[in-house]
């Protein structure tokens, strides 16, 4: 047990049960000498005010699914967990907006909205464990980003606790708003380096009346076939909510067949969904095989899919290292990245499960293997992305290896602006120090 006398000072604004001392550190880092569990916004503010004034460092966590995402410090003084700061503040069903506390589990939120036939139009990984605050802070999105956009398209308002304990609101509770700067955007994907998200207001979408996912597998393995099908399908007036390609390794896990597979999702009234399935049927190359999962089968497919990414809450892989890489390229270049993933897996003797959206340009690659193999594979994936004018960032990696690779892949030319924003809001680097790009 470390003897940390200052911890007693926390009891001035927290109950003893809200304070937990930690004896050992998590292998993913981003830990704290002490974890605190605020239950009210005032308590979050009090913790930050205390830390900011007494030179303590604070890390922010939801339920820990993204603990392996960024961060060059093994521990801070205080780990601020929002796990006990959960619940819906206001669901204005007629206005199709919801305000929710940041520690609310994403899946719980969706289940509360479902009886109203409404949903938050995001499909993040591990929805039953990730918190809405973490999803927004890390800007997590899934394949249906094609149809519904990402966090920046759904968030309409935030209450943010600044590092000095001040509460700032951005945006509002209306779906359209250009009053002042669009400050919401600053905090989405900021990895908690600018403030603690306290309450999040989201616009909602109606639940689809019917959904299906068409799985189109390409046994030939020729990405040119996939490309020409994709180009011709995306040029039609069909409206897929996702158009996601799986590499053979991932396809094997999800469908049992180790061949490139496209997952094309449709959500609409039933007639319109079937009509679009027929378009796939009509345009698919002869060699491609097609299967349709409808209704609950489609939902179940996505539930499985949502758990393929590494999860910081789970025990570490026993044999070897697990990593996740997010790659951004221009839409159709996803094909090149997925092809590279197969070649790189071979060269580096690792297993890479990868998927990417041909309509939005984001890929995720999950790498599993020896330390050296994983590091080499991530480096090669990054080079492939950069060659295409894109980027690669490491979304999950044990702390010890994060010190051997640049998680964020260098600084943009306008880094001084990012640094300037951080300095204005958190001059003492009190929160999530070194969690973000360029050591911000």
């Amino acid at each position: 047990m470390l003897s940390l006398t200052w911890i007693e000072e926390l009891q001035e604004f927290l109950h003893p049960e809200q304070i937990k001392r930690n004896d050992s550190f998590h292998p993913l880092g981003n830990d704290g000498a002490v974890t605190v569990y605020p239950q009210a916004e005032e308590e979050i503010a009090a913790v930050l005010r205390y830390a900011d004034q007494s030179g303590k460092k604070v890390f922010i966590a939801g339920r820990g699914t993204k603990r392996g995402f960024g961060g060059q410090r093994e521990q801070a003084d205080i780990l601020l967990s929002l796990e006990h700061y959960a619940g819906i503040v206001e669901h204005a069903a007629a206005d199709m907006t919801v305000t929710v506390k940041a520690g609310t589990v994403f899946g719980d939120l969706q289940r509360a909205l479902a009886p109203y036939r409404q949903k938050v139009a995001l499909d993040p990984f591990w929805p039953d464990e990730a918190t809405i605050g973490g999803v927004i802070a890390a800007n997590d999105s899934g394949p249906k980003r094609l149809g519904y956009g990402s966090a920046r398209d759904s968030v309409i308002g935030l209450r943010i606790v600044y590092p000095n304990g001040t509460v700032i609101r951005s945006g509002g509770k209306v779906v359209k708003n250009v009053a002042g700067y669009d400050m919401n955007k600053l905090f989405i994907g900021a990895m908690g380096t600018l403030g603690v998200l306290s309450e999040i207001t989201l616009k909602l979408r109606p639940l689809a009346k019917y959904e299906s996912v068409v799985l189109l597998s390409f046994p030939s393995g020729d990405v040119h076939d996939i490309r020409s099908f994709a180009v011709s399908f995306l040029d039609t007036m069909m409206e897929p909510v996702c158009f996601e390609l799986f590499n053979p390794t991932l396809a094997e896990r999800l469908t049992g067949r180790p061949v490139y597979t496209l997952a094309i999702g449709f959500e609409d009234v039933e007639n319109a969904v079937h009509y679009q399935e027929q378009w796939v049927e009509r345009l698919r190359p002869k060699a491609a095989e097609m299967a349709v999962l409808a209704g609950e089968e489609a939902a179940a497919f996505w539930r499985t899919f949502n758990t393929v990414a590494p999860n910081g809450r789970l025990a570490q892989a026993e044999n070897g290292i697990e990593a996740a890489v997010k790659i951004g390229v221009v839409n159709l270049d996803v094909l090149s990245i997925l092809r590279e993933s197969v070649l790189i897996a071979d060269r580096c003797h690792v297993r890479i499960e990868a998927h990417g959206g041909l309509g939005h340009g984001l890929c995720q690659a999950y790498v599993h293997g020896s330390e050296e193999g994983v590091l080499a594979a991530m480096e090669e994936l990054r080079q492939a992305a950069v060659r295409l004018g894109g980027y690669a960032i490491v979304k999950h990696l044990p702390f010890s290896l994060r010190q051997r690779i640049d998680v964020w892949g260098g600084k943009p030319s306008y880094f001084f602006l990012l640094e300037g924003i951080k300095r204005k809001i958190d001059p003492n680097k009190t929160i999530n120090d070194q969690r973000f790009i360029g050591g911000i």
């Binding site: 609101r169 359209k176 708003n177 400050m183 994907g189 079937h274 951004g328 980027y391 943009p412």
Partner: protein
């Protein structure tokens, strides 16, 4: 512009002329008059000069010169802004981007295009229409407003209910910072560039953080089918309730517009009448689009909802020509006020949709209180109201009364948890109204961000934020709700 030499001793004018060329600068009073305001005509001020750069390098050189010599400056597109964002309050050097109007690149396979800031919004759609694509944000001024200006204002439009506003369609920007440095964000349209979301921050910053010189936008494929419904109501409440019920039935219309009786009187007296009955209280213009196999079902639902709320008459457009006439009638609605009033002032409040009936009642009260007619033409689907205050500027005191009535409409929107602007921006017009929705601390949080980009505050100063209070009241965070 005719050839002429610079006839002034002002060294700044001479220096700027050397950067952009003598044919690309205006500095005589008679030439500057056209630049003393934008679409918000209540305030006017002459600029020091207007320059017409043709390249990013020229924009950067002009900005660098202004920065070094402490000359205030601002960027201007087509000047259609409705909140005064391009008015040279401080005698700015106006950087007009109307000669940077090229379409640089179209990549339909990846659904994106790159344009210069002076490129006109509707021209982009026209350039890709033959392949079945379009650019979604459609402000009513789209036939003449520029995409650069749309980025600055985060412009909306009638169809943003389903497709979002400008910020949802911007993939990359090249920006000249207020010190003349050029940066590129999200360059070729790669999503989620690592770092804080500067694309999101810059879009809608009303030209106070930088000058956009190149824009990568998302293009969309035309919907397979489109149906438009026109519904006439005898009671505003019935129209409002129809709006709510359509939304809660899980229908996401592409557009859901409303006009009240005064507005109908104006559009029917103006250039694009369509024969709306003049004695109805409100009309709804509803458009749904998407996969054809699903459209009829949605239209049936909408018609049933209208009937449930005592619609007097409801019809579905029978041809593209009919649909286009209905939209021309709607999109020229603001200008149509000229047919029934010498002057008008348009407001842009936003409210939670469900509060529509009570806020419309409150606006009627404000109209009575100030003795001024107020017409309402608005995006009912997303709660974005446009009260049009009708007045006569030639009558002493009436302009002031109109401004006060407009401001009170915004207060009514703020009071139900809404916003003071949904798409027109704050500009000069609504600076003080920012206090209806933000605390001093929240406003300071925003100006702190401006200072990172624009530390000398030479770029478009005096816009967007209220003049700092003499006595800054600090509200306790716990009282902010």
């Amino acid at each position: 512009m005719r050839k002429r030499s610079i006839a002034t001793n002002d060294p700044h004018i001479q220096a700027l002329a050397r950067i952009v060329g003598e044919r690309a600068i205006l500095y005589r009073k008679e030439d500057l008059m056209a630049y003393d305001c934008d679409g918000f005509t209540v305030h006017r001020h002459l600029p020091k000069a207007v320059v017409f750069p043709t390249s990013t390098e020229q924009v950067a050189a002009v900005v660098r010169y202004c920065h070094e010599h402490d000359l205030p400056f601002l960027a201007r597109g087509a000047g259609t802004g409705l909140s005064g964002g391009a008015i040279p309050l401080n005698g700015e050097v106006v950087i007009s981007l109307t000669r940077m109007k090229r379409l640089l690149h179209v990549d339909l396979e990846n659904r994106r295009a790159v344009v210069e800031p002076g490129f006109v919004n509707l021209k982009l759609t026209n350039s890709v229409a033959h392949r079945g694509y379009y650019y979604a944000p459609d402000p009513s001024s789209q036939y003449c407003c520029t995409i650069g200006g749309n980025v600055a204002e985060n412009a909306g439009g009638a169809h943003c209910l389903k497709y979002g506003v400008t910020t949802n369609h911007i993939l990359g920007l090249e920006v000249v910072l207020p010190n003349g440095e050029v940066i590129e964000i999200g360059g070729n349209g790669v999503p989620d560039p690592p770092g804080y979301d500067l694309l999101g921050l810059l879009t809608g910053s009303e030209g106070t953080l930088g000058i956009v010189t190149k824009i990568t936008v998302r293009l969309l494929k035309n919907p397979e089918a489109k149906q438009t419904v026109l519904a006439y109501f005898d009671e505003v409440e019935d129209a409002s309730q129809t709006v709510s019920d359509i939304i809660s039935a899980g229908i996401v219309p592409a557009a859901l517009e409303m006009m009240d009786q005064t507005a109908i009187e104006a559009v029917e007296a103006a250039a694009f009448p369509v024969g709306h009955p003049k004695d109805i209280a409100a009309l709804l213009l509803i458009e749904v689009d998407g996969i054809s196999a699903g459209i009829d079902e949605q239209i049936d639902d909408i018609l049933a909802i209208c009937r449930r709320h005592h619609v007097r008459e409801v019809k579905v457009a029978q041809s593209e020509e009919e649909r286009a006439r209905w939209w021309a009638n709607r999109k020229t609605g603001f200008g149509a006020m000229g047919a029934i009033s010498p002057d008008y002032l348009v407001q842009d409040g936003v409210i939670p949709r469900s509060r529509l009936p009570e806020v419309l009642r409150e606006i009627a009260n404000i109209s009575r209180k100030y003795g001024l007619r107020i017409a309402n033409i608005f995006h009912a689907g997303d709660g974005n109201l446009h009260p049009l205050v009708l007045f006569d500027a030639s009558k002493p005191g009436e302009t002031e009364r109109a401004l006060a009535a407009g401001s009170e409409c915004l207060k009514a929107c703020a009071a139900v948890g809404g916003s003071i602007t949904g798409e027109h921006g704050v500009g000069i017009e609504k600076k003080e109204e920012m206090r209806f929705i933000f605390t001093d601390e929240e406003i300071l949080a925003q100006t702190a961000i401006r200072d990172v980009f624009n530390p000398k505050n030479l770029l478009n100063a005096g816009k967007l934020f209220p003049t700092p209070g003499r006595c800054v009241e600090t509200k306790m965070p716990s009282t902010v709700k």
